[in-house]
Amino acid sequence: MRKYSIFAIAREAMRAHKGWEAQWSSPEPRSSYDVIIIGAGGHGLGAAYYLAKEHGITNVAVIEKGWLGGGNTGRNTTIIRSNYLYEESMDIYEHSLKLWEGLSQDLNYNVMYSPRGVMMLSHNVHDQQSFRRHINAHRLYGIDNEWLTPEQAKAYCPPLDISKTARYPINGATLQRRGGTARHDAVAWGYARAASDRGVHVIQNCEVTGIRRGPNGEVQGVETTRGFIGAKKIGVSAAGHSSVVMEMAGVRVPLHSTPLQALVSEPLKPIFPCVVMSNTVHAYISQSDKGELVIGAGTDQYNSYSQTGGLQIITHTLDAICELFPIFRRVKMMRQWGGITDNTPDRSPIQGVTPVPGLFVNCGWGTGGFKATPGSANLFAHLIARGEPHRLASGLTLDRFRTGRLIDEAAAAAVAH
């Protein structure tokens, strides 16, 4: 792999950019691998990269039914933060945030991580009390988060309407300054390139149709649309389709899959300096480096794999955006899409061993998996390599639904889903 650098750009500029090589290879699948990861999104590709880099396991394939990064990795609103309430969540999201900070250098790929600050608006006394509780929990745990008055919030984010006569008045806000955004496609591409460089096979357009198990129940490999591929260990990281894939191995997981929508506006000049979220009126918004306003809507109420969603869901969000930021009332929306999120009963992810020997699962990231990409991938690689969870992910087991040790993070989500 040729390293990307300013010298590489200069060199290629001298020879009409004819020397750029493919970022990752697309090899024919081998007959078997040490590890197969199902799902080439950020989490799956990242896990393959960390398996190769930190655990020395390079005989790895990432199998994807579509194209890499074409699922939720390419459909989210790219928000990064770690201000969750419970220790199990703070552990993994903060681990992830720390990896985000050095990810571009680590991968030699500009993932455009931009710590521009994530602001959460408080509209009433209950919001304020719960946000202050969050801030105290974060500070005790060594995570940055601070309280802003409405005037301070307006100073940090000038388009905000803080007038007393606003439809949704604001009585304060929290700000996590290290939170922000990153370029979602670049995360998938960067991991794919770095993993491919270390010998990982990224196999696209290859759908897993079954998981073959041996006489003792252990995994032997996967049936795919390109034939059988053997594997000693299998990691499932299939987002909204995780329960479909797990069913192939006879394991039921407590997930329900719902569409989550997002939309972007026409490109504007830089106008919006940070990420703003409002749980109470359900809105979150940021501006991409291309200039589009990136707006996240809610989930539909029913299970669906349609990768679309109801129009009333996005109009509801846009109602709130137009009230909070009257300046955007005449902005045109350009594209809208949906992704399928896998939600757990306690709204916390599942990462751990399964009852099937050799089968590991990473799912249930629901509406907030993008921010966790590096941390989740890093700990999933540890889980697959060692066969037991890393300390930071030890609470996220599948078993918690039997023991009752749930991580009831629903109340700490940025917006109510």
Partner: protein, 118 residues
């Protein structure tokens, strides 16, 4: 937005009038104190989450307020049928039956009853 047929009101109404209420035909264990943790987790948390045909409950919360069951395709979001709560799992209507049902249905939307079309 979905258009849902309430089997009690016998009308197609907008999804806004309804609440989704999870998978249908899950029976609460009769002696719940006696079951194991595994059985409780199975009953309480584990769901089929089908890709394709699913049986689910809905509630006509802003209408008659009653729960009913539905069969729906989770890929196309198309409702195959709805039927009253308490009935056993119903067989899926054939393509001809579905077409016949669609034929005789009048869809009560604003456009059809009061809008420009009228």
């Amino acid at each position: 937005m979905l258009l849902i047929h309430c089997p009690y009101c016998e009308e197609d109404r907008s999804e806004l009038e309804f609440r989704w209420a999870g998978e249908a035909h899950i029976a609460r264990p009769e002696n719940i104190a006696a079951i194991t943790d595994e059985e409780f987790a199975e009953y309480f948390f584990l769901r089929n989450n089908e890709k394709g045909l699913t049986y689910e409950r809905w509630r006509h919360i802003h209408g008659c307020g009653r729960f009913f069951n539905a069969a729906r395709d989770t890929v196309s979001d198309r409702f195959l049928m709805t039927y009253k709560a308490g009935l056993p799992k119903q067989p899926i209507p054939t393509a001809e039956e579905t077409a016949a049902i669609a034929e005789e249905k009048t869809v009560e939307t604003w456009e059809a009853t009061e809008g420009d079309a009228r």
